[in-house]
Amino acid sequence: MSANFKGVDYFNIDALLSEEEKMIRETTRDFVNKEVIPIIEHHNQAMTFPKELIPQMAELGFFGPTLPAEYGGLGMNNVAYGLMMAELERGDSGLRSFASVQSGLVMYPIYTYGSEEQKKRWLPAMAKGEKIGCFGLTEPDYGSNPGGMITTAKKSDGGYILNGAKMWITNSPISDVAVVWAKLDGVVNGFLVERDFKGFSTPEMKGKLSLRASITGEIILQDVFVPEENRLPNVTGLKGPLSCLNQARYGIAWGVLGAAMECYVTALEYSLSRIQFDRPIAAFQITQEKLVWMLNEITKGQLMCYKLGRMKDEGTLKHTHVSMAKRNNCEFALTVCRMAREILGANGILDEYPVMRHANNLESVKTYEGTHEMHTLIIGEDITGIPAFRADEKSN
């Protein structure tokens, strides 16, 4: 819709951004306007990911940009990274998901927990988009409670034998490498499972009515031999995957601002041009109340993300801060998309406008990387000391 989108900035938050941060946002915005918006609805309906954009996204520097240059990164700060994510998600949550998974869920654990050989082998190639990664944590029977996972790794000569199944895995059908979390003697460990390993398969999941321009699949592990050098050596336990999710959630908190801004701008433009009862519908108080609510929530979300990013750069960020921003922003962004749909009336359900696609996408975004409810209870535990999501209400 808004191929000349100029951003939403009611509180002049731009004044807090560096020139470089703004330029990174502008480049991403231009890319999304020219390359994504014209084609994305087609992919959404065809249920395909625009793979043709991967080389250009890599060339622009969207994969792993916060990592240091020696591993193919750019040493970018986290505010710039967040602004980039918001623009990508203004295009489509599927595009942002692709970048989130590649950077936050695959490059991050390899960089943080991998051996030097693993880093050298995978990170530069992933930054260039030559290798695609996916992150396998969720299982058919273990979603919010990944600690219960039943995928196992058994020690064998020179490596491990993996068995189990993962579900809901973004990019798995197109991935060259999967970061698979499995229990070794009852303790969660991370393994780099490569495409050509025997017994590894990734059937695509069909029938999604949300995030259709993103490929989701299963991971099936049938006696897959994974050599010793493919185990992430520097982490054990659930904190491995949870720290990755924290990275990706950070990107989501920013990302959904993009979807919300796109819908707000679309609704504002529409309400000024649609005439009913001889007046633009923007003249009716109920429409204005909706527009103001949208802008108000977007502004709060932006301020939250801005502070979140600066804390992440300073090293003062807690995972509960990220939970709060992810929880808050997904919730309001979804409401913004739905309100935009209302303002557009019947036109709101058409594929000519982006609002229904964004609203549908955000249903996934609200659920993945920790559901709204789980983030509520994570913050609840932080402030009361009582973990409400576990039966044994003991804090640890």
Binding site: N4, E19, E20, I24, F31, L60, G61, F62, M84
Partner: protein
């Protein structure tokens, strides 16, 4: 080869311009500034030439301190060096061209690229003035360019068609939309741009030859009139077009 590009900073095309309190300047508050779009074609062409033939690229701009932003944008796209001729006052096309020529005469660039016009004042003058001051040929409204050895072949847009012309280096080329598709500055370029130094100097000429007396905005368009919504409205529409609007 040595490639120089002259660029300028202009208000964003979608900005709603307001006139300043003095009645003869633009109120800069709330205006976002961008690199002049035609200059972006010039920068892109410079980068393409460099990629093909090797050489060094250099941008220069005359403007306020804030114009460093367009130099950084050019750096981010891949330009290697930049100079800001820093003038806090608005100079006219002649003075701008004099200052650019003053720098360029010592540089011996093989090719000087600029936009065909800047979209703020639309004077269409700087490129041609500059060429004249340097005693170089200039080719304007260029939509296609090839350089082989010393030979320059350019395609120009002329009324209703295209013209192909030839000249030799050194030459001044004024870029028109269609010459190329400017690249996005990639994030790596942006990250590196901030640490590249920008040279600064004072303008040698500050004397304007043209004085702006006043500025005014176009009159707002009168409200449209809806004569009717079906076929029965056509005769009345035709009558109005003939008698009131006098266009048919």
């Amino acid at each position: 080869m040595k490639i120089a590009v002259c660029i300028s900073q202009v208000p964003d095309t979608t900005t709603k311009v307001k006139i300043g309190s003095d009645g003869k300047s633009i109120d800069p508050s709330g205006v976002t500034f961008i690199i002049n779009p035609y200059d972006e074609f010039a920068v892109e062409e410079a980068l393409k030439l460099k990629e093909k033939q090797g050489g060094e690229t250099f941008v220069l701009t005359l403007g306020k301190d804030s114009a460093k932003e367009v130099i950084r944008k050019a750096y981010a796209m891949g330009i290697e060096k930049g100079l800001l001729i820093k003038s806090e006052t608005e100079l006219d096309s002649y003075a701008v061209a004099r200052n650019l020529a003053d720098v360029l005469k010592d540089i011996n660039a093989d090719i000087i690229l600029c936009g065909k016009q800047s979209i703020d004042f639309d004077n269409n003058q700087v490129g041609s003035l500059l060429a004249e001051m340097l005693g170089l040929p200039s080719i304007s409204v260029v939509v296609g360019l090839t350089v082989e050895g010393n030979k320059v072949r350019a395609e120009r847009e002329v009324e209703g068609g295209k013209e192909v012309v030839e000249s030799t280096l050194p030459v001044v080329i004024c870029a028109q939309r269609g010459l190329n598709e400017p690249r996005y500055p990639n994030l790596k370029g942006i990250m590196q741009a901030k640490s590249k130094p920008i040279e600064e100097k004072q303008p040698a000429y500050t004397q304007n030859k043209i004085e702006i007396l006043s500025m005014s905005l176009p009159k707002p368009k009168p409200k449209g009139k809806i004569v009717g919504t079906d076929l029965s409205a056509v005769p009345e529409l035709v009558r109005l077009l003939r008698e009131e609007a006098k266009v048919i």
